[in-house]
């Protein structure tokens, strides 16, 4: 029997009323957006107070330097106030992305490895003419300037170059009776040293001291998973096979290094591993230098360059302060930006770890160095064969396919050829899709 329809109680609410109310709220919110949303720029007035917003990663030591530069700028430009937005490093690019998407981009922003993703989407102002006019770049590393040239536009210049190198424990070299590595050494010398420096004290297969902790970088093989212009995948080149096979042999055949999976899985940070003498040589980067100085103060260490395998090469990246293409104050932003290209700023930012792009500043940095490493000069030598990742759009998505495929090689679940066949296919399809869509 069908249930008898109950009369609506006087307390029961008509759901249509709720719907109406929701509709009114949404309409009010959308209407409100148009009323209070971003409006047109006010007319330019040289006397009008201006506020510049600058986004940087929240690094306390760097913030002090930024603030000093800004204080100097504000003193010279009293009508301009600069607000620093210090964003925690882990979510820096995500937060910046949201700021840009919401139509409230900072006027200036710090850029590191994420540069290409933002630059390829038109996030930065072309400063080519201003750079030529106001900044003496004759002493700049030409390659470093080239890194910031996208689609014919010069989007800025770096104040710091990050370089990868090898750090080694001199005491362990002495104990093994080995000469310290030269900057121009080769793979055979590297492998011979790594073998002699690898120690299995109990003979039980558990390595107490690895000759090398890390991978040999793609740069010394001349390998890249994606072409320089980002138009095609290059995962199946002989250089890439060399990269995978050689690195696999380091942990699989020669046992001079832990596998990349073991390194990822190790709960110890690399400085602890190095300090405890569990690694005689280790891959490191310029940003590691302050931590090595602090945490490995008791260790007698120095640095050297990568051994030559197929070629000489050092992975490199850079950092720059760039101007947003959406800034309403390009002239004021450029005046501030200029200070971040100066020799003084480069020197101060690179003191802890980094290579100044300006050669004379780099030489000054090496000359005044009183700390470890003694061979800081190696960074200047490295300028000749820096090997950055291609600066292309969608690199995070494309590289994720490559890194996933590499994982299978390190885990031993795929051969280098099989893994790179997969990566090549997936990257090619993604590149084609992005090209079809004009991205």
């Amino acid at each position: 029997m069908a249930a008898k329809k109950q009369p609506r109680s006087s307390q029961e609410e008509d759901p249509r009323g709720l719907g109406w109310l929701l509709g009114v709220i949404i309409a009010a919110l959308i209407g409100g957006w148009f009323v209070v949303g971003p409006g047109a720029d006010p007319p330019a007035d040289p006397q009008r107070p201006i506020k510049l917003v600058m986004a940087v990663p929240a690094d306390q030591a760097d913030l002090v330097i930024y603030k000093q530069v800004i204080a100097r700028y504000e003193a010279e430009h009293p009508h301009v106030a600069v607000e620093i937005r210090a964003i925690p490093g882990n979510n820096y690019y995500q937060k910046l992305l949201v700021m840009l998407a919401s139509g409230l981009p900072p006027d200036l922003m710090w850029m590191g490895e994420g540069f290409a993703e933002f630059a390829s989407r038109g996030a930065f102002m072309d400063v080519g003419d201003r750079l030529d006019q106001d900044v003496d770049t004759s002493d700049f590393l030409p390659q470093a300037l080239q890194w910031y040239r996208i689609d014919g536009q010069q989007l800025g210049a770096p104040y710091l170059i990050d370089v990868q190198f090898i750090v080694y424990n001199k005491k362990l070299f002495d104990e093994a009776g080995l000469a310290y590595p030269r900057d121009d050494w080769d793979y055979d010398e590297f492998l011979a040293d790594a073998k002699k420096l690898t120690v299995d004290r109990g003979g039980d297969g558990r390595i107490e001291q690895y000759g090398y902790y890390g991978q040999l970088d793609m740069s010394v093989f001349g390998a890249q998973p994606i072409s320089e212009d980002g138009t095609h995948a290059t995962c199946q080149t002989p250089a890439m096979m060399d990269f995978l096979n050689t690195n696999r042999s380091l942990f699989n055949t020669f046992h001079v290094s832990p596998s990349p999976q073991q390194i990822t899985g190790s709960g110890s940070d690399v400085y602890t591993i190095f300090r405890q003498g569990k690694a005689a040589m280790m891959i490191a980067y310029t940003w590691d230098l302050p931590y090595l100085r602090e945490q490995c103060a008791d260790v007698d260490w120095d640095i050297t360059l990568n051994p030559k395998v197929n070629q000489r090469g050092q992975w490199a990246s850079s950092a720059a302060i760039l101007i947003s293409s959406k800034t309403r104050h390009p002239a004021e932003a450029w005046e501030l930006n200029k200070l971040f290209l100066g020799a003084d700023f480069q020197l101060r930012m690179c003191e802890d770890g980094g290579l100044p792009p300006n050669l004379s500043v780099a030489r000054q940095l090496v000359a005044q160095n009183r700390h470890k490493p003694a061979n800081l000069q190696a960074l200047i030598v490295a300028r000749e064969f820096l090997y950055p990742k291609p600066r292309i759009a969608n690199s995070a998505e494309l590289y994720s396919q490559f890194y996933n495929a590499c994982d299978t090689v390190w885990m031993g679940t795929a051969t280098p050829a099989g893994a790179m066949d997969r990566a090549q296919r997936q990257i090619t399809w993604l590149i084609n899709r992005h090209q079809e869509r004009g991205e």
């Binding site: 009323g17 919110l29 992305l97 899985g265 994720s400 679940t413």
Partner: protein
């Protein structure tokens, strides 16, 4: 006067509804619309029709006629998500056992109830970091204990085969004493004791009583826990992937929610991420309706 009566409660609801509209209704509607657009957050969204869904769910043939999925990752990460959801029945079983134990009139039961609920009130990130140490291959407690009995433990979080079970263990540990256990406890206390007394007089032992009284009487609770766990399961895994494994190795611990995040905030494919969300929504809806269709009969 009648009109006034109708308006007053709506006005009371206004603050809540405003928040609901801003943080739920509009974003959900925007995601639905965005799934038909291509948007990298820099340029204005561009309408692409069903392109995102074709990229997501479609396939292609290569020159040799071999079929390749357009987005093989999606299917792999869907599999990962479903694999991790295998923890749901185990968690539910553990919750039920805990609830039955803690429903006994034992000394210290309030203390144990609190202890088992503790993971739910602790900061998730802190707990996950703790698990990272426990799973560590070199000095982790778990492998250390396995070594006591002569077992060489796996490299839990870096092994393709062991990383998913490792995450499942965390999920079970974290959830078995949570809301599931509380709901079962409430359900157990709602079972009339006369039923047990009558069964006991009829000669039913503990297992009979559990099988024929407790389980049927808890069926509505079980159904509710199951439905909410399935919905949560489809949406879950982000925090563990983000903190413990970054989705690796080789995507073994990437779940759909982590994949959506990657597309939105790492790859700048906001439209594609919205399409993924919509497919995930459809999946949750389908499975929930299926559970509702077949599960409701069992509870009535």
């Amino acid at each position: 006067m009648r009109h006034h009566h109708r308006l007053t409660p709506l006005l009371y609801l206004l603050p809540n509804l405003t928040g609901f509209a801003i943080f739920v209704l509009i974003p959900v509607a925007a995601a639905l619309v965005l799934s038909f657009f291509r948007w990298d957050l820099f340029h204005p969204p561009k309408f692409v029709g069903l392109d995102n869904f074709i990229d997501l769910l479609g396939w292609r043939r290569d020159a040799e006629g071999v079929i390749h999925l357009n987005d093989a990752g999606f299917w792999k990460y869907l599999y990962n998500t479903l694999y991790l959801m295998l923890a749901i029945p185990i968690t539910m079983f553990c919750s039920l056992v805990l609830a039955v134990l803690l429903n006994q009139k034992l000394p210290g039961r309030m203390f144990f109830r609190s202890v088992f609920f503790l993971p739910n009130i602790c900061a998730g990130v802190g707990l996950l970091l703790l698990w990272k140490f426990l799973y560590n291959n070199d000095f982790g407690l778990i492998n250390h204990m396995l070594a006591w009995v002569g077992i060489t433990g796996p490299d839990w979080l870096n092994s393709y085969n062991w990383s998913k079970p490792a995450l499942m263990i965390i999920m079970i540990w974290g959830s078995m004493g949570g809301t599931g256990m509380i709901l079962y406890l409430a359900g157990l206390q709602g079972i009339p004791p006369e039923l047990y007394e009558a069964a006991e007089i009829d000669g039913a032992n503990v297992l009979h009583r559990f099988r024929h009284i407790t389980i049927p009487m808890l069926a509505p609770t079980t159904f509710f826990i199951f439905i909410t766990a399935v919905i949560g399961g489809f949406q879950g895994g982000f925090d563990m992937a983000y903190i413990l494994t970054k989705g690796g190795p080789d995507g073994a611990t990437t779940t759909l929610s982590y994949y959506i995040y990657n597309h939105a905030f790492e790859y700048f494919n906001m439209g594609y991420a919205a399409a993924l969300s919509l497919v995930l929504f459809a999946l949750v809806l389908f499975v929930t309706m299926l559970s509702w269709r077949f599960g409701r009969g069992a509870t009535e």
